[in-house]
Subunit: 504 residues, 4 copies
């Protein structure tokens, strides 16, 4: 049992018995010195922060004694985690800023060794290597050790993943311009990259026999095509479907990245045929009808693992899994949404209207048709009419409008995916993801997502990124290094139609 | 299926179908460019090495593109592993020397950024941090990426552990004086430390229900008190015994460090009472007889994980496990061998004989007794007589000799453990291990290991290092930072007897 | 692969690929003679039935060769199962009638051996025993062997459980008066009793980590307090709750009987406090608050296992499980519904009205009060007013009505539970179940189930049957053999109040 | 905790804490009345037996109340088990004799209902069926209920299996001629047959990853080709080998019947090629080299399950398993020993010598050859010379002798297997087993088991019983019902050679 005074202190601050048990275990088994941290974090938060940081973030040992420093008591890590969790958002920012600023790299030490290195240039290799090693060591932020120790306690890795999510949030929201925070982010990312190295991940197939806890998370995390209810979920792990996730030994029960696959006769051109409410649950899979694996949803679940490549590895691992289950299976492709297309389109129309360059987008004949199909009120600009048409989803209900819009929107969309860039890479994030993986931009599909969301976001268009297995390496290198997008004839054809019509 | 030419090439070089399957999967799923590496490594080994290294060790991307380099095809890693495994010992040394020398840190780039850093000292923090980050990046050896990629393929982590064992072997055998190899060792150690971080390890209790494969390994790895046969092994996982191991997700079925515990009524002073062939298998544990947990053997199994702290963590984890199983259990102690004591003793006797300082070790009266008990042949030096006595195990059979030697050897042994140092830390490696962990040097035990090995190595003496749970942190820090050994009254008493008698 | 003609035949009749696989395996591995059964069962069903029964129900071997008959090919069993499943309800009845009538016991053979036995009365014991054994053997229905063989194929046991459910349905619906069907039912029950013997059952604790498939079934099978949604379900397996089920090796993934337990500070007197939508999910269990285990729902899931005692064993097994988890736990009780009470009450009121014996139920003063509280329309009988009052749930909303009704309904309910019998045992089936198990009728609780269903069925009253562990055996025997109900002072008090007021 | 007096009583009699725990649980949860049984069974054993049997074997309830009898307290079963285990062999016999004699069928009741049945012959079917059911019920031995209850406690099923082994031992050793014991045996067998029905068995593949406990048992139980050491065992579960066992939920960790299979290029004609000490452990299986599955050892482990068919089902289940692993695998065969051949041969030679019918076995020319090859001492009979030759294994070392004996012994052996009968079935028990299963007597193999045991038992000959999967049903029925042995041309050829030479 915990001694009585501790019990009191805990009662207020600890939410769960589990933590209590963990702390008790830690205190029972290992001493943890003075127990000042149990004082409330809210009173005198700032001095509390300083005091706690000074205590739990040990100084970096000297280079000579770096292997001779005992690990700090586990209670240090638990204290840090508990304290941090008790802070509100503003205090967290403050705390992280202090941590990264006051417990980072010792710049003086770095320059000292940088200086030494420059003066040893003429000496022997052994000396150079040793000074380099000292220099490298001096570049270690002081807080790195603490992060390492935290990773070792139960729940520590998950804590650090969430901590990094907070850091990323601060950076992206520009709440702080601190360059130290960027350094903290970099350190966290590099540590997480090691711990979430693919060799340490476990591929799990999710089925209706999987624990409810996991399936509930799968359902919550599904961002691409939201799960409506448990029957819907059951279908997504039922016959002609596969659902895979990477999990990690240090975060049990937590899927890190989830891939949904449909097994189909041919590469799907429509998402409703995959996720709609049909009764496939009683079907038994006919292996002869499985010719294509369509990745129709891939979701990362941990913001804090941003930049740690998981999705690419998951896709390739799943391909291998499927090949071993269906040796004859040869077609692998995504069926992907095109978030941002409608927004981009509205923007471009608005801009061209301002610049009076409507004809750079649609041909004269097409504009006339716009006027006709929209019953243009006199005095209205045709571009405005088109914008309005697209802004509503009305056109979906008219076959005539739909038929008219198809070629126009398809070539504009092809251009959006293929031609619009950011720092030389595809502007559309989904495209960028699959192209980095080495996929080919393979086919745009009209009326592929006829849900309200699909029509609003991308005028019902979806795209297949196809994985030709013996070209992904080459494609990936081409894209990443030379910024070349590999695309099919259909896509290139649409792009060239766009270019013919447009003078973008 | 593999294409025909590949099949031929493989037939000669691949030992196992498993590898074939892995390669096949890799080749089936992902392209791997040109297949030059399948040429035999034996013909023109050197040019083969150069060629292969140049191909599989990619250049370090520039700092700017470091996030934009696609992972190399998995076949690269498989090729490297396959090639390395096919080399004989000499070629391995050559290969590792080349790898570490030609694909290490780019020293020019390092000095360039070191220079830059010195010239930016006056500028703003953001710039400093960025240059530091570039400097840090430039200190990355080129081969580090390859090692990272290898860790991701099946069996890759185990390959790197074994690779490091080879590197350590070269370094310790002084086959090479290359400072680059030390750098490679450092890089490997730091990578392995991340991957074998305690948060990623799994504690497994080994029982007679564990897989035979694991138990066979437990038996083979047992270095301290060799397992005689399967019945012996069965006892070591039977009633009143516990056997725990850390395993790692990336090396399934491979215990990394193994701890054997005996549950006893009091802290054992004799190893035979623990490992002798008595029939304890039918006993049912009586929880009231479990007052002490005696760690009587701890073995690391992977040379390549040298310096990666596992044993300390295993002991503390097991303590927690035992506390939860036996809440009233309060005594934790090792029963440890004292390797090197006899050797040290012979050395010291030999030296003192040369220096004519026999009286600095034993009192005059004791020397007389030596003469008496050994029936000293005239003309023989008493020191020689004592050395000879100890060198044989004869004295064990004589109660008189045994009674005479006990106080002498006990105080000498206490000194050996407590007083003999190397760089300020205990010379005896087992002592050093437990003292680093924060244990107390608690009790020397006479006639504690009466096996031939025990008598030969340490004159039958064993020692308990006791873990007082709320002092380990403090003790560990005292020892590691101030080189202070915490010891019990018994030990200190023996040491002071030694000091009284000796003028060491 | 199946030979072509078979494929055709299957296509029409087999619903699932799984069956196809099973059949294929059976046909692949074992021959099955001529394949006539694949002809459609719908054409000429009757002759089809006769033909199939004649073929698959082997004759009983002679007593001498009973150990020398090879098991029939597995395909026989599969054929029978497939054929039976393809029948509609009417045909099933017909089929079962034929099976039980034409393939039951050979009555001639029975009388022959019965005659022999009577004539051997004077002979030696060995002869008597042998004739008895032959007689016993002759009492085996011919179809028993087939049932045995069916139990051996995959899914066979479940098939027989469902088959018995059909038989029970026919018997209870009086669709057939066939005494042979009762014999078939008896044979099935005795076989199922052996296979579902407690030693072959596995206790499973159901948690949120259990497979979704199981949890979905738990939800569907919950008959007592229906599960509203998945959040509700999650609570029922969350903190301060336990959910246990028996499963059986031959019916994997199928909970046979499910027990829900609430861990409370004292024995609950209200069901809403257990199943209402409060947020207990984040609580951590405080072992000091667990003083009572309240069984608030127990459901059998397989109609076909009627009469095979499972619930009693489950309760006792769970008690042991809970005692080992909470050694100090000492109070075990149900919180049970009283289905049928309102119906019984209406019946009794109606009858007493007819017989003009109102005063045998309520006192004069009470009847006056009824008149007052119901604002009795002149000319209305007070009994009618009371009946109407109870028939609606209106009174629940009035504190005055509620207060008035409490003593009246409580004593009537006590009598209903304690005094109303069927063949000497408690009329109320829930009472009968717990009394058979040896529980004590412990406490009636007013306003214990305030849900519409609770008010409608039992005027909001629920009852605790308490399990005093060292009295259950005695109580059970008393009840079963002497029809004595053990009840607490509260219950007996209410009963005696009823008796005082009533002249039932 | 147990109350103090009980603790004392237990201390003397209970061997294990486990039992203590079980009893404690039982006593804790369920009352067990007076605790007389704890008095020592050794004092006044006979009256103790009577007393205990009278108490724990409840009377059979009447037919009317058979569903209304509460299960006896679990402590009854535990008491019975404990008491029985404490008896020595002689007392066990006495105890079982009493149990079977005094608590068996109530013969009076049986005749009563037999009489009733005869008098109801003219009445309606319903009455007949009911009287039959009462008659059936009256044929239930009183102890059957107890056996049923024992099967429900932990370890109960295993207890009954062992109990039956004792009963079988008594019967076969003719220690008792009691016909009641045979009845007890029959009751036990029929209960065990239900509980060990194939639907309740689990197929387990045993590998080097299986628990040591299981592998140790596999090793101990191997009766056909004894396991020499753990390396030998490792090979038997290694590459090109399969080892399967049936286990049962109620006897965890206990393999009931074990089948060893070698995967070979063709059906093996030699056992040493399978079990000899070659290094196959590093091989990886080449699926193209797996053309035949050779069952080279099958062992039942539980004497108490005699007559409960398991081996046949295991073989057929394994065939299915192997077919699913190796779809092209088409040859299934045993490689079986021929225990008893040498013994039979010596017997026949001895008899023919007496009868002077040597020429009925070997031709004149062969006898001459015997004389030559044995350097017949004058006066010695050639038959004696042959007997002596066979009795030693000398001939194995001479190629000439070996070549001479081959045709003679092969045809004699063929006759032994094919022609020698017991009650019409094959005399050789291994032959009888495989023929019952429907195998074909396929090939006799010379020099198939050249181990001393093989030469001694069957002159180095072994036989393949081949399983043609689509003929086993037919063959099995032919053999069991018509006593027809299906054999190959080779076997029939040898038999006809024998018949030509012999006039048996």
């Amino acid at each position: 049992m915990l001694p009585q005074p501790l019990m009191c202190a805990f009662r207020g601050t600890l939410k769960s018995w589990r933590h209590r048990a963990v702390l008790k275990a830690a205190f029972g088994a290992l001493d943890f010195g003075n127990c000042r941290w149990l004082s409330s974090p809210t009173s005198g938060a700032v001095s509390g922060m300083e005091e706690i940081l000074a205590r739990v973030v040990s100084p970096l040992p000297t280079y000579e004694t770096r292997e001779k420093s005992p690990p700090p008591p586990e209670a240090n890590s638990l204290e840090f985690m508990h304290f941090y969790r008790s802070l509100d958002k503003g205090d967290k920012l403050d705390f992280l800023a202090r941590l990264s600023r006051d417990f980072g790299v010792d710049h003086k030490s770095v320059s000292e060794f940088a200086g030494k290195l420059l003066h040893t240039q003429l000496r022997d290799l052994a000396t150079i290597l040793q000074v380099e090693d000292r220099l490298r060591y001096s570049l270690t932020p002081r807080y790195k050790q603490l992060l390492n120790h935290i990773s070792r306690v139960e729940g520590g890795v998950k804590f650090l993943v969430d901590l990094r999510a907070d850091v990323l949030d601060i950076i992206s929201s520009k709440s702080s311009e601190s360059p130290d925070l960027r350094d903290l982010n970099g350190t966290l990312k590099s540590l997480l990259s090691e711990w979430f190295s693919v060799g340490l991940l476990r591929l799990e197939r999710i089925t209706w026999q999987s624990p409810c806890e996991i399936l509930q998370k799968i359902s919550q995390y599904e961002a691409v095509h939201p799960v409506r209810n448990w029957a819907d979920l059951k279908r997504r792990v039922g016959p002609y479907r596969r659902c895979y996730a990477f999990t990690h030994a240090a975060m049990p029960g937590e899927p890190l990245v989830v891939l949904h696959v449909a097994l189909t006769e041919e590469i799907s051109d429509n998402i409703q045929s995959i996720v709609r409410e049909i009764s496939i649950l009683d079907l038994e899979e006919d292996v002869n009808k499985v010719n294509a694996a369509v990745f129709y949803s891939i979701s990362s679940t941990q913001t804090g693992l941003q930049g740690v490549e998981l999705g690419n590895y998951l896709i390739k691992r799943v391909v291998r899994e499927l090949q071993s289950e269906f040796p004859h299976l040869a077609q692998f492709s995504s069926l992907s949404p095109i978030p941002g297309f409608s927004l981009w389109l509205q923007g471009i129309l608005s801009q061209y209207r301002k610049e009076g360059r409507g004809l750079d987008l649609l041909s004269e004949q097409e504009w006339q048709e716009v006027e006709q199909v929209t019953d243009l009120t006199p005095g209205t600009n045709a571009i405005d009419a088109l914008r309005k048409l697209i802004a509503t989803s009305e056109w979906m209900r008219s076959e005539r409008l739909s038929r008219f819009l198809e070629p126009v929107l398809m070539r504009l969309c092809a251009w959006y995916l293929y031609g619009e860039k950011r720092r030389g890479y595809a502007l559309n994030p989904v495209a960028n993801f699959h192209l980095q993986n080495g996929a080919t931009m393979w086919r745009l599909n009209w009326h592929a997502d006829t849900s309200p969301k699909g029509v609003t976001n991308s005028c019902s268009i979806m795209v297949n990124y196809r994985y030709f297995l013996n070209e992904t390496s080459k494609n990936s290198a081409l894209y990443l290094q030379n910024k070349v997008i590999t695309a099919s004839g259909q896509v290139l054809g649409l792009v060239s139609q766009f270019q013919k019509n447009s003078k973008l």
